[in-house]
Structures are given as C-alpha cells and as structure tokens.
Symmetry: C2
DNA sequence: TGTGTGTTGTGACTTCTTTCACAAAAAGGT
DNA sequence: ACCTTTTTGTGAAAGAAGTCACAACACACA
C-alpha cells in the first residue's frame, strides 16, 4: 500500500490519460497499453497498480472505472486540496488557465501578486489579490499547497510567509533554492533544467540511456 | 565520466544557483553549501561533481569558476542547441519570456502557432510564425529540440511533424502520451502531476519519506 | 473437454542511486 | 613542528527502482 514518489507520479499520469478519453462501465485496459502511453514497461505498470492494491483480470486487463477511482483514493485528499498561487505574471496566468474548469480535487482558492497594478485584475476567472491578504486567505480557506511563480528574487521571503501561514507543500517555479522546515514539501518544476537535460541527452544517446 | 539523468538534473541546478550570484575568480563553494541549496546531502554533491571529473580542495571546497565551466562542457552542446517552440498560448508566452535574454547555449530559433490570428504577432521579442514554415525553419536552423506547448489534442500530430523534420528531443507540456521513435527523447513537464504529488505527499509524511 | 493464446501477479534478480564512513589533505593556531 | 579542525575523495554497504521470467488463470475455439 505504500507508494513511492515515482509510483505516485506515474499513477497521476495513468489517471489523466485514462480520464481524457471517455470510457464506459465495462471498459478494460491492458498493462501494456498504459505502458506504451507513458513509454514504460508493462511489468512496471503492473507493479504500480499492485502498489495501490488494484487487481486485474487475466486476458482482459484492468477495469478502468475502479482503477481510476482507486488512484483517486491514493492521490486525492477526500477533503480537497486548496491551493494559492503567488505571482500572477505570464507563468501564473498559464497555470490559472490550466487549472480553470478542471473539476478535480485541486482548487485554486486565491491568486496573489505584489504588483499593485495587478491587484483586482481578473485572470482566467480568478481575481488577483494583494499580498496583504494572503495570510488571511490561507487561514480562512485552510490552503495546504502553494504555487510559487514569482521571480527568484524574493521567492524565499514569499516562501517563508507561506510556510508561516500554514502551507505544507509548495510547487516552486522560481529558480531559487527555497529553504524550508522539514515538514514542508517542495516540488521544483524547472523548465531550464528540462531543456538542458534534453539537450544533453540527445547527444550521446549510446551511453547513459536514461 | 558517464553522468546519469539524475546527476545531469542536479548539475544543471548547481550551475544555475551558482551563476545567479556573481563570484570572483577565487571564490570557492563547499559541497555542503550546494547540498543545502538543493536540499540534498554533501556526499551526493561530491559524487555528482566526481562524475564530471571536477576536483576540489580539502578545507576550501570547489573553485566556482572551473566548476561552472566544467558543468558547461557536459551540459552544453559546443555548437549550441537550437529550439523551436510550438504553441504560443499562455504557456508558450511564459516560456518565451523566460528564455528571453538568457545568454546561454539554448536559443529559441522560432515560435509557431496554428492560430492564424497569432501569426506575425511578436511575443516577448519573438515573432510568431505559421505552422507551414516549421519544417523549413527546423531544417534551416538545424533545430534539435522542440518545446511542445499546444493543447493535448493534436499534440501527437505536431510531434510527428517535428520528428519527421529532424527534431531529436522534445520538452512536452501537453498532457498527451506522445509516441516517438526510440532515437527521440521526450521530457514531460507536468504541472498537474507536480500538484497531485505534493498534495498526496503532504498527507502521510510519516511513511514514504520520498 | 482439451489445446492454444495472451495476460496478470509476483518472487527473484539486476541495475541504478544514495548514504555511510573514514583515510588523506589542507589550513590555522600555538 | 605538532595538534586540531574541517573538508574532500571514494570504497563499500544499503536502499530504491526496474526488469525478468514464469506459474496461474481466463478465454476462444474446436
Ligand atoms: N516562464 C517560464 O517558462 C518559467 C520557467 C521556469 C521558471 N520560471 C520562473 O517563474 C517565475 C515567474 O515567471 P513569469 O514568466 O511569470 O515572470 P513574470 O515576470 O511575468 O511574472 C512574475 C510576477 O510575480 C510578481 N511578483 C514579483 N515579486 C513578487 C513577490 N515578492 N510577491 C508576489 N508577487 C511577486 C510580479 O508582479 C509578476 O506579476 C520566474 O521566477 C521565472 O524564472 C518561469
Ligand atoms: N498552463 C499550464 O500551466 C500548463 C500546465 C501543464 C500543461 N499545460 C498544457 O500546455 C498546453 C498549452 O497550455 P496553454 O495554457 O498555453 O494553452 P493555450 O490554449 O493558452 O495555448 C495553446 C496554443 O496552442 C495553439 N495551438 C493549438 N493547436 C495547435 C497545433 N496543432 N499546432 C500549433 N499550435 C496549436 C493555440 O492556437 C494556442 O495559441 C496545453 O496542453 C496545456 O494542457 C499547461
């Protein structure tokens, strides 16, 4: 029942890929089909599904409905996850557009920016608020997670405020170190690193095939 | 000398963190300082640096200048990496803004969008072009890498064109499977997965401390 | 009923990654 | 000159992740 970080990531992807196409009550999927979608192996998919106790049928595969539901019981907080976004620049706008209209366990409960010109503006349906309000909103909404999309300068300071206000997980887009207490989880999303990795790996495909 | 994917990612981060602050010819950094910045361990940092043959000094640490340079010889293609961006929506704009003005081994050589209304528009200094031109630009510029920032629908089709035109690495933001030949490297960047992972991990911190 | 085919579930194995732990090196003080 | 402190470099151990291989099962069709 204990799923590792890697498994959690893949389960999230399986679910999204399955949810994208409509399926009926009696649709099944094979481990090798999921594997192909994520460029993995069938054995790995079966291990992942084993980790959350999902069981399939020989010769038919896994029933999609229960599979999606079971992934949900692992990934989704039954009380919902409430998220604040800090930094309503280009990237913040993209994230808001992306989150908009997803009926899911993840809800944006506030978008914040330090720029007074941004306060009050509505971005993709979310009203941008002043940073002064952020502690209040986090407390009132009991937000557990923050998306940090400010420039690197000042990211640590914003981070400290978020943690102090009760946030326990941060998705960090800023290319800054972010020092946090142990109880807080930081997930770095780094486009520059992704590009550099790809650029590096496509040279020398022979060695380091990973 | 063979660096794994994980090591490459961390080296990229070390370099960026070091490059952010100015340093003089004789500045040194300790493995534990780098470790703190990436929430890792000193031993791991030393292993990473060992992988690229960088050597430090007892009691003084690693000389920053040569370290940054040596990371560069691993990560950077000496001929430069030329990148095309497909999908000049919110996310594409954010990426263009992010890439703009970085004097680095990574260069955006074209931005493309299927929306005729977008063609000709200039985004963060990059002129958005019609999809008709993409094969020509990839060939003329010898672009090796693409950033895919279109909706999931049609992502596979765009991907096929990119691969056919000669692209060998793709950073994929679209929540779509992307089936590619073995010789092409796809790096998925997935905000939804990052959020779900954080949301999942901050519950149950006791178990699965990874 | 029996045979053939294709898939799951999983123990065992392999490979990759991280951590541990300590000798050796360098610097500073006395 | 010697001792103390701090840090590197790395072999060895531990741990995590991924792969293999195959028994067990389910279905199809004769
Ligand atoms: N755009 C990308 O693809 C990309 C990729 C990786 C990382 N990033 C990073 O994400 C961050 C945001 O990128 P962007 O393109 O949206 O930049 P941006 O300049 O368009 O937006 C930044 C926003 O943050 C606000 N801000 C600045 N300081 C703040 C503070 N202390 N508190 C609250 N809000 C503050 C600004 O007012 C602005 O609206 C940057 O750190 C960037 O390096 C961006
Ligand atoms: N915004 C985010 O934070 C985020 C996060 C994860 C994934 N994504 C994904 O990134 C993609 C882009 O997001 P966005 O917010 O920029 O969306 P968007 O709708 O703002 O932009 C998409 C752009 O792609 C263009 N486009 C559509 N089909 C195309 C095609 N076949 N060829 C070329 N261009 C095409 C559209 O004209 C539009 O300009 C989406 O797949 C989204 O799911 C976004």
């Amino acid at each position: 029942m204990a799923a590792s970080g890697k498994t959690i990531e893949r389960l999230s992807v399986y679910r999204r890929l399955l949810s994208m196409r409509t399926f009926s009550e009696e649709d099944y999927v094979y481990s090798h089909e999921l594997a192909r979608m994520v460029s993995g192996t069938a054995a790995q998919v079966r291990r992942d599904l084993m980790a959350i106790g999902v069981t399939g049928h020989s010769k038919r595969g896994y029933r999609i409905g229960p599979l999606v539901e079971e992934i949900g019981t692992l990934l989704d907080d039954p009380e919902g996850t409430r998220i604040v976004l800090v930094g309503a620049g280009d990237l913040g706008r993209a994230v808001l557009g992306f989150m908009k209209g997803r009926s899911s366990a993840l809800t944006i409960v506030g978008a914040f920016d330090s720029d007074p010109a941004k306060a009050g503006r509505v971005v993709h349906g979310y009203r941008c608020r002043s940073m002064d309000e952020i502690e209040g909103v986090i407390a009132a909404e009991r937000a557990q997670v923050a998306i940090l999309a400010t420039p690197a300068d000042g990211a640590q300071e914003v981070c400290d405020r978020l943690v102090e206000a009760g946030v326990r997980g941060i998705v960090n887009f800023a290319p800054a170190p972010l020092i946090v207490p142990e109880a807080v989880w930081v997930e770095r999303v780094d486009i520059a690193t992704a590009l550099e990795k790809v650029a590096c790996l496509i040279r020398g495909v022979d060695e380091t095939t990973m």
